[in-house]
């Protein structure tokens, strides 16, 4: 872990901290007596600083989603500890975890799959509100419309089904649902992959706005370093279930140590330097 980043972070207690997390999946074919294990997480130490945007980067299969599901209390790690708000929660029962759930929300990559197409946009946002509180229909609907506006969706679309929305609009809807309960931590698991560049930029701007307006802590998971490099405060790189590099963005980019980080950096697609000159204006 980077020393100066670590020192800065140590000034503020981490919002969430994982120590020595381990998780393995066992796969078995129907007829075979053999099974083989996949080490999804190996001795993972990870911290999320409050009020910051932390990025978790790695290739497919590096364990990012597994880590996200453990942090979001959806999956249970096989070993290790998770600390949230001063409590060690990795072994808590479902009932004990229930009051914590509104505080950590997860947005998935596949928005079409994550949102029930039978419900309207407003109903999707209302659902978590309904479960957690008892308010009248009108109040719920009004809150849903407010949230839609906040994420950049027109409240006129309250009755639209998610299938009628574009990919970017669906992700906005998923974000609206996630922030409905005023979480302290928002985890986005590859939520920007598969979106157009222009939509990605808009959603990132939305996240930055939300982060500022609601003092939200954001964990952004992606395979694209260039994407997160523009907005993240801290970057952690994962490879084969381990965190191989974890420091402030400047450090990770400036003095990348691990070969995996270098590999990710090298594969970033940018316009060649020669083209940069004319970017600021129109024709040269």
């Amino acid at each position: 872990m980077g020393t100066e980043a670590g020192a800065t972070r140590a000034l503020q207690p981490a919002l969430m901290r994982a120590r020595g997390l381990g998780k393995r999946y066992v796969q078995r074919t129907p007829f075979s007596q053999q099974s083989f294990a996949i080490e999804a997480l190996v001795n993972v130490d990870f911290e999320i600083a409050p009020g910051c945007l932390t990025a978790l980067v790695g290739e497919s299969g590096s364990g990012k989603s597994t880590l996200a599901s453990c942090l979001a209390m959806i999956g249970k790690p096989d070993s290790g500890e998770i600390w949230f708000e001063g409590n060690e929660i990795s072994h808590w029962s479902k009932r004990k975890l229930a009051p914590l759930r509104p505080k950590i929300q997860l947005v998935f990559q596949d928005s079409a799959g994550a949102l029930d197409p039978r419900f309207s946009a407003a109903q999707i946002i209302e659902e978590p509100l309904e479960i957690q509180r008892r308010e009248s229909r009108q109040t719920l609907r009004a809150r849903a419309r407010e949230l839609m506006e906040e994420v950049g969706l027109s409240p006129d679309w309250a009755n639209r089904s998610p299938l009628q929305l574009s990919g970017g609009q669906r992700q906005r809807l998923a974000i609206a649902r996630a922030i409905a309960l005023k979480p302290s931590l928002l985890i986005l698991d590859e939520s920007l992959s598969g979106l157009d560049l222009s939509t990605q930029a808009q959603i990132l701007n939305l996240l930055l706005d939300l982060k500022a307006a609601r003092s939200l802590t954001v964990l952004l998971i992606s395979h694209d370093l260039s994407l997160v490099g523009q907005v993240a405060d801290f970057v952690a790189v994962m490879h084969q279930g381990r965190i191989v590099e974890s420091a402030s963005t400047r450090q990770v980019f400036g003095s990348a140590q691990h070969p995996q980080t270098c590999k990710l950096l090298a594969s970033v697609r940018v316009l060649e330097a020669a083209f940069q000159t004319a970017r600021a204006g129109g024709r040269g």
């Binding site: 074919t29 129907p30 007829f31 053999q34």
Partner: protein
């Protein structure tokens, strides 16, 4: 990382061993339950005789004792199991013979009927289902959907009676039974013709009764697959239409159909009861009916056990076919 293939080869045997154990347990359970229920039903085989004033109650009691019907339930059960292990499967009071020989003959007759109907129904349903799925929404699809709905709404009973009526009125076919009188005197080709003529009504009824459901399932499964991206991609590579339907779409649509086929096989012994009774086909159906009414309990239990065995067979067949047909079930993921 791929697991070694040798372990996959060894384990089908272990798999079958497991299934065999499950099957035996299931059969035991089924036998216990059917024993229990049939014994709970009031009356016994000899009750009819009680009504007859000419037979004394002592004779009835003696007969009952002779056949062991006065013994407590567990004792009778154990005796029955012993009889099964001896190969007799109990004793039929009405027919005065071990249940097994009775069952075998009747089961053979039933199977002749049902396997023929099964094969015909599937051979007709699959091409039709595939075709109308590819013509979704057009006139032939709508015609087929209307016809299957109509057919579906007609109860099997009515179908059987209707066909019977038609046949009787037109004297087109012999009615009732499996073969005509004087069968033995016919030459072998005539024997086949005679059998076939008797088969027509019950087989047609069974086929017509099961076609609508089969066609609908094939159609539904095909329609779902035809909307998959890989079909359009294959079309984009220049694959011909017929190849798309039968080599790309149908294999991918096979899973639910295989399960359905397994169910069909499972019902081979039990699905034709009504038709057999009406058409007078000497299969398990009429036997079971008679035995229920006359409290010939060991016959009843025997038929139930035979049906259970077929159900196990059908489900096993479906599972094996699924593994063979769908590589996703058979192999592991990367």
């Amino acid at each position: 990382m791929m697991p070694s293939m040798t372990s996959a080869v060894k384990s089908p045997i272990r798999y079958l061993e497991r299934r065999a154990i499950h099957a035996i347990l299931l059969l035991l359970g089924a036998s216990l339950l059917s024993f229990l229920f049939s014994s709970l039903a009031p009356g016994s085989f000899f009750d009819e005789m009680k009504l007859n004033p000419q037979i004394s109650p002592e004779t009835v009691a003696a007969l009952r004792s002779q056949y062991g019907l006065d013994q407590p339930l567990p004792v009778r059960y154990v005796r029955w199991v012993k009889s099964v292990l001896r190969g007799e499967w109990g004793y039929s009071f009405a027919y005065n013979q071990p249940v097994r020989s009775l069952l075998m003959v009747r089961a053979r007759n039933t199977l002749l009927l049902t396997t023929l109907a099964l094969a015909l129904a599937w051979l007709i349903a699959v091409p039709i289902g595939v075709w109308i799925a590819s013509r979704r929404g057009r006139w032939d699809d709508q015609l087929a959907s209307a016809s299957t709905s109509l057919l579906l709404s007609v109860p099997e009973l009515v179908l059987a009676l209707g066909l019977l009526y038609l046949v009787i009125r037109t004297h087109a076919l012999p009615v009732g039974g499996m073969v005509s009188t004087g069968f033995d005197r016919l030459g072998s080709w005539e024997q086949v013709r005679d059998l076939a003529a008797h088969l027509i009504v019950p087989v047609t009824t069974l086929v017509l009764a099961s076609l609508p459901i089969l066609i609908r399932h094939v159609r539904a499964s095909m329609i779902e697959v035809l909307q998959a991206p890989f079909i359009q991609a294959a079309r984009g590579h220049g694959i011909s239409r017929s190849r798309l339907l039968f080599c790309y779409a149908l294999p991918a649509a096979a899973n639910p159909l295989i399960s359905l086929f397994g169910l069909s096989v499972a019902g081979l012994l039990s699905g034709s009861l009504l038709v057999e009774v009406i058409a007078g086909w000497p299969g398990l159906g009429p036997l079971l009916l008679e035995a229920c009414f006359s409290r010939d309990i060991y016959v009843v239990i025997g038929v139930v056990m035979a049906s259970t065995m077929f159900m196990i067979l059908g489900s096993l067949l479906a599972d094996v076919m699924l593994v063979v047909a769908d590589p996703r079930v058979r192999t592991d993921h990367a």
